[in-house]
Symmetry: D2
Subunit: 124 residues, 4 copies
């Protein structure tokens, strides 16, 4: 997924505000489901933990690319590696574990989600 950096993503330091990179990664995860016509109702993936590394900043007007790789698929959780690049250079890296929640409870990841997730796995 590609994204343009706009004013609202930046801060007075002149670069993208740090938690926005984490937001961009979530948008890339959601886009992947939306694109496959999976819309969440009373369910969704909730963040359990994440580790992020900030390498270089992105600036106003930049175009960045968010890359998503599957690291591990468990019954009710997913661990992903997400990186952000700018002109093919890594500027941000994150490992994130999300848990599938349905009607407020941790639940098995549905079959139709797994099909999509496995596609992503093979594409790397």
């Amino acid at each position: 997924m590609q994204k343009r950096i706009y004013y609202n993503h930046t801060d007075a330091g002149g670069v993208v505000y740090h938690s926005n990179y984490i937001t961009f990664c979530e948008q890339a995860r959601s886009e992947y489901f939306f694109k496959h016509r999976i819309f969440f109702e009373n369910e969704g993936y909730v963040v359990k933990e994440l580790k992020a590394k900030y390498i270089k900043p992105a600036k106003l007007g930049d175009i960045i690319t968010i890359h998503t790789y599957i690291k591990e698929v468990k019954k009710a959780s997913l661990t992903l590696l997400q990186t952000i690049t700018k002109e093919n250079i890594d500027i941000f890296e994150m490992e994130i574990t999300v848990v599938f929640i349905k009607n407020g409870k941790i639940s098995k990841i549905p079959e139709n989600h797994l099909r999509i997730i496995n596609e992503l796995k093979n594409k790397r």
Copy 2:
């Protein structure tokens, strides 16, 4: 209501990003209800229209004050005047009309809300 300006409120122009002033005003409206122990469930006030005037910018570290005045109370809607000041000088002004929605439908503003709203009215 007083608020400090932090990095995430600012943009690469070095001042508060314009839609954040509108967000700050909403927080002041919500705070007013929360403070009176009114929490919304399947209901709430939805913005119908607003007119905003930007007078001076606020910067990182500034402390601003949001003032809320009642302009008109109708059966299902409220028109408010909200201003933001910095060291007693007006920096932003907004007139906003919000509509009360319950279970997805426009509804009469409840009695306990009206009591609080009228208090605010008399305080000006």
Copy 3:
């Protein structure tokens, strides 16, 4: 400009948080300049006033389109009409006046900007 609605744009009411529509319109204005390789340095357009009308909400996963029309071009300011549609239906409308600022002072809109702005004018 088309945009997808993600989680961070929505709020606990289940729809897009009201000031985000105003942010989306700013992104469409900026995109127009970025696309023409105009990047701002110590200069930019600052919001002076706006009037917004909320017609229908947008929801998680929706794809919206932001339309920008020129209403009036003055020496140092622009008045634009911006609308947001979802499946060709208007959901939001805004009239906004922005002022051109260079090195902290109101300044004449540069020639290369005017060329782009006029293109937009004729396209309507």
Copy 4:
């Protein structure tokens, strides 16, 4: 630092959007400096890495508390432990390393900052 959860912090899942907890922690760090009358000019702390753990969600209207502890002070960087509690229960934990930047370059943390940082250290 205490904070109220407002609509703009929440998402369509009904709880606080995950990257906002990371923003709240940055606000607590900044507040600490602002409160001691340190305002940044062409300098500031830039995030290098962070590890976050999401324990329980916060909801609209909740009041949360952000706690900041010093873990390690180096010449040009700081490692902090930050936790967020709701009614004295931990809901979020983060270890974060920030680097001091002055005029675009990694720099020694100034003496007046160290004084404040050490105060925080002893308070735990």
